[in-house]
Every structure is written in structure tokens, then in C-alpha cells.
């Protein structure tokens, strides 16, 4: 009998595909349903962030930093302003620090809610997505009363804030915290401990700890592999040392340490921790002027700085080179999604098409952050 010739199927997923979370293109080489190789192609949202920074003054870069990782704009701003403040040696008032921490933790909630919701959608459950979006809407409401914008805020400025929090902000946040607490268990009942969902996520896309470090994984992806590393604790910035919170890590409860379910669960637990931080911070906001330290002209001395913060996606670092003028000489953003996405190839070999989708969702990428 003549030998039957077989060919691998090459399937292009994206740049427009419901579950690539934006404009990512994955080139899958398939053998039936089994994935032999994945080649990610990025750059479909390359908006020249780094070129823009060279033409803008330092404060003008903040809105562009917003637009990098557009689902957690506050954290992006925080990272950038901390970098510039470090370069200029500015000490910001404590009130500003408190507000920044509260805002970035709220932003963490919003970002994780979106990540979890879209993850449910990847698994085929559409309802959790809408539940998460409805909860997220309440967070956006808080941002809206503070700075008027829902998504991209330009709220943190170098040395301060664009304006103070509104009068009833603390009351609203407390109301929100009370509203949010039962939502986590609701989400657990709806999705996390669903038998089918566990079947779909546990033991899939296992990321060993040593490879996670070597490949530069960050944030929940790193912690999902069981590494207790969080910049808020390990390389503290702002006033995080003042707060008491845990670092959730993946424990392999339903499968192996570092599988999709662990990464997912780390996000659920992080939301609980964020609520803890907000509760501790909201009552202790000191009085003060949020704009007293804002410099008239942001003109850092010649030098360079690499500042990193823990965004919901992981370590976001800005490497800024200043040549002493009003514009940065070079700004390079080390985006967490960029490093996390580069893992997809190693994580999805040998699994099925449906698993690639789930693994991609568990990495929680935002293309704006990857392509910049």
C-alpha cells in the first residue's frame, strides 16, 4: 500500500478573532486538533509610543502611558510618574501617596475583573463576562467622580495629582467595598469551581517556576507558578510597606502548580487582597495639598532611571534617559504583557486548539501594552 502523505495544517488565528483579546495573530501548526507549534505575530497595534515620548515633554507623556495598557491606565501612570519623580528627586506628599495607592488598587480590581470575565468568555461561558463588566462599571464610577474619565485618566501627575478627590469619595469607596465583597464568592460559584471550567483549565498550560523566571514572566503569571514575588513587597514603592496584605500564589489545588487554573485563581485572590489594602487606606488619608510638589517645569537632570511597579499584569518598568532637556531622550517601557505573551509558544505545544485559547486568556494580555 502506498504511503499516505500527510501535511500539517497551518491555521491563522487572528489578527481578528474573538478570543485573541485584541489584534494578535497566532499561527498554529496543527495535527488534527493537537497544536504542534505556535508562532505569535504582534505589532498590529504598534502605535509608536516610544517615538512619541521623544517628541513630548515629560508631563505630556502621561496620557500616552495611559493608552499603553488601556485597561489599567492608573497603574501605568503610577509607574511612569514614579520613574520621573525618582529621576528628579521629588518627594510627594503623603496624601498623594494614599490616593495613588487607593486608585491603583481600584484599578487592579477593574483590570482583574475584565481578565476574569474575558477568560470565562474564552471558556464559552458568556454570563460571567457580563457579571464582571457590571461590577467593573462600579469601579469606573469611582474614577469618573474623581477625574471625569472612565478609562484613560491622566490623573497622576509628576509630583502630585491633577486634582483632589471629591468630597464624598471615601463614603463612596466604602460603599463599593461592601458591594464588592460578596461578588468574589459569587464569581467563585459561577465560574471558578464549575466542574467543566476546572476540567478546561487545570493541568493545562503548565509553567514551571524556573522557566517562568528565565523567560521573564511577571505578575499573576509568575505567582501562578508558585513564586512568592510581588514588587509591592519585594521592592516596595510608594507607601505599600504600610499595609498588611498577602501575596497569593498558585498552589496547584486542582491540578499542577502553574497551570491555567492557578493563574486564574491568583487573580481572584488578588482582588480580595486589593480590597484589604483599600480598606486600610481609605480611612487614613491625611490632609494636605495634592499639588504642592508639582514642579513648574519638569526638567530632570542628565541621567537615567529604571523604575518598576506591580501593575495587575505584572512588572511594568520604565527606563527613562534624560539629556537634561524638556523632552525625554529615550523612554523604553518594559511591559509585562510583552514578556508574558512570549511564553505562549512554550505553554501551548502539545495541547489542543481550545487549550491555546484558554492559555492565552490566562496570560491576560493587553495588546496596547505589548505593541506600544
Amino acid at each position: 500500500m502506498a504511503e499516505i502523505r500527510t501535511e500539517d495544517m497551518v491555521l491563522n488565528m487572528g489578527p481578528q478573532h474573538p478570543s485573541t483579546h485584541g489584534v494578535l495573530r497566532l499561527q498554529l501548526t496543527l495535527e488534527g486538533e493537537i497544536v504542534i507549534d505556535v508562532k505569535p505575530y504582534i505589532g498590529y497595534l504598534h502605535r509608536c509610543f516610544e517615538k512619541h515620548t521623544e517628541a513630548m515633554t515629560y508631563p505630556q507623556v502621561i496620557p500616552y502611558a495611559d493608552r499603553m495598557d488601556y485597561v489599567n491606565a492608573m497603574s501605568n501612570e503610577l509607574s511612569y510618574v514614579i520613574a520621573v519623580e525618582k529621576l528628579m528627586g521629588i518627594e510627594v506628599p503623603e496624601r498623594v501617596e494614599y490616593i495613588r495607592v487607593i486608585m491603583s488598587e481600584l484599578q487592579r480590581l477593574a483590570s482583574h475583573l475584565l481578565a476574569i470575565g474575558t477568560y470565562g468568555n474564552d471558556a464559552g461561558a458568556f454570563t460571567p463576562f457580563l457579571y464582571c463588566m457590571a461590577t467593573r462599571e462600579r469601579v469606573l464610577e469611582l474614577f469618573e467622580i474623581t477625574c471625569g474619565a472612565r478609562l484613560l485618566y491622566n490623573y497622576f501627575w509628576v509630583g502630585g495629582l491633577s486634582h483632589d478627590i471629591p468630597v464624598n469619595f471615601q463614603k463612596k469607596v466604602k460603599e463599593f467595598v461592601e458591594f464588592f465583597k460578596p461578588k468574589v464568592s459569587e464569581l467563585n460559584n459561577l465560574l471558578s469551581f464549575n466542574k467543566i471550567f476546572i476540567e478546561r483549565t487545570a493541568n493545562i498550560g503548565i509553567l514551571p517556576a524556573d522557566y517562568a523566571i528565565n523567560a521573564g514572566a511577571a505578575g499573576p503569571v509568575l505567582r501562578g507558578s508558585g513564586i512568592k514575588f510581588d514588587l509591592r513587597k519585594n521592592d516596595p514603592y510608594s507607601i505599600y510597606p504600610k499595609f498588611d496584605f498577602d501575596i497569593p500564589v498558585g498552589q496547584g489545588l486542582k491540578g499542577t502548580v502553574g497551570d491555567n487554573w492557578d493563574r486564574y485563581m491568583v487573580r481572584i485572590h488578588e482582588m480580595e487582597e486589593s480590597i484589604k489594602i483599600i480598606e486600610q487606606a481609605i480611612d487614613n488619608i491625611p490632609e494636605g495639598d495634592v499639588q504642592s510638589q508639582i514642579p513648574k517645569r519638569v526638567k530632570p537632570p542628565v541621567g537615567e532611571v529604571y523604575a518598576r511597579t506591580e501593575t495587575p499584569k505584572g512588572e511594568l518598568g520604565y527606563y527613562i534617559i534624560s539629556d537634561g532637556s524638556l523632552n525625554p531622550y529615550r523612554v523604553k517601557a518594559r511591559s509585562p504583557s510583552f514578556c508574558n505573551l512570549s511564553l505562549i509558544r512554550a505553554l501551548s505545544k502539545g495541547y489542543m486548539i481550545a487549550d491555546v485559547v484558554m492559555t492565552l486568556g490566562s496570560l491576560d494580555i493587553v495588546l496596547g501594552c505589548i505593541d506600544r
Binding site: P15, Q16, P18, G22, V23, G43, Y44, L45, H46, R47, C48, K51, H52, A55, P63, Y64, R67, Y70, V71, L114, F129, L130, Y131, M133, A134, R136, E137, L140, R150, L151, L152, L367, G368, D371
Partner: protein
């Protein structure tokens, strides 16, 4: 409008304002405007607001707008975000894959004219209308969900005034 264009030759004989044509127009327009299926497709920041608009709080389903994953099933494409040069050819192809009658709504400054990337964005297409025809522009960076809804209502208005007999684009 492809199908409308084809019909054009046959109904030239009717004067515009013919009572049968007008009623048929109304019915057909009503069908198109009340059931605009959109593409399950987002580009950038605006996509998040688009998702928020179709979620429970604002609920696009009220207007009969549901997301469909395939370009063959849809009537309206929401260009939600920055169109880069690398993506532009793909968007053009998507547009060509959509069956007539089709509409395009450009959401946000980036899709309208390049937005904040207009000057130094060497890799950004300065407005999606350079590659595909746009029916409604929604300004904002990003537009609030209310603004997107307003844009969709404007598009409905536009469809309402279209006609089999006379082309209004």
C-alpha cells in the same frame, strides 16, 4: 449599497415618492436599522468601551445589536481604536468580506483621524476613512458608551432615510 444598486435599474421607471416604493422602503429600512449585527472585534482602547457598551449596564442588545464572530454575518463594523498600517490591510479585507448592505462606524479619535498619534505615529493610519468608507464618526478618546449609543442612533437615522429608488449615501 450593492443590492440596492442592482435594483436601481429596475425601478428607475418609478418616480421617487411613489407610494409603494415608499412603504417598501420604510419596511426594509426598519429591518436594517433595527437589526444591526456588529462584529465581535476590537482594536484598541475603544474596544474596552465598546465591550462596556454591549455589557449589562448599557446593553446594545436593546437595539437589536448583537455581536457575531464572523464578518459574513454582520451588518455593521465598529472600528474601535487605532488602525495601524500593519492592521489596515486586514481591516480592508474584513470590510470586503462583509456582505452588502453594510455600514461602518468609526469609533474614537484614532479611527477618525489618528487621534493623539496623528503627528509622530509613523505606523498609524491617520483615519480609517483612508481605506474604507465610514458612515458615522464618533468623537472622543475614548468615547463614552453614551456617545457610542448616540453614534449608533445617528446611523439608524441615516438608514431610515435611505431609499431603494434614490441613493443617499
Amino acid at each position: 449599497m450593492g443590492i440596492l444598486n442592482k435594483l436601481d435599474t429596475h425601478i428607475e421607471q418609478f418616480e421617487s415618492g411613489n407610494i409603494i416604493i415608499t412603504s417598501a422602503d420604510k419596511l426594509l429600512n426598519w429591518g436594517r436599522l433595527s437589526s444591526m449585527w456588529q462584529m465581535f472585534f476590537g482594536l484598541a482602547c475603544c474596544a474596552i468601551e465598546m465591550m462596556a457598551t454591549s455589557a449589562s449596564h448599557y446593553d446594545l442588545d436593546r437595539f437589536g445589536i448583537i455581536p457575531r464572530p464572523s464578518p459574513r454575518h454582520i451588518d455593521i463594523i465598529l472600528i474601535s481604536g487605532t488602525v495601524t498600517l500593519k492592521m489596515a490591510t486586514r481591516i480592508k479585507r474584513l470590510w470586503e468580506q462583509m456582505p452588502e448592505p453594510k455600514y461602518c462606524l468609526s469609533m474614537g479619535s484614532c479611527a477618525n483621524c489618528g487621534g493623539p498619534y496623528w503627528e509622530h505615529g509613523y505606523h498609524v493610519l491617520k483615519g480609517v476613512d483612508r481605506i474604507i468608507p465610514v458612515d458615522v464618526y464618533v468623537p472622543g478618546c475614548p468615547p463614552r458608551p453614551e456617545a457610542l449609543l448616540e453614534g449608533l442612533l445617528k446611523l439608524q437615522e441615516k438608514i431610515r432615510n435611505q431609499s431603494l429608488a434614490r441613493k443617499t449615501n
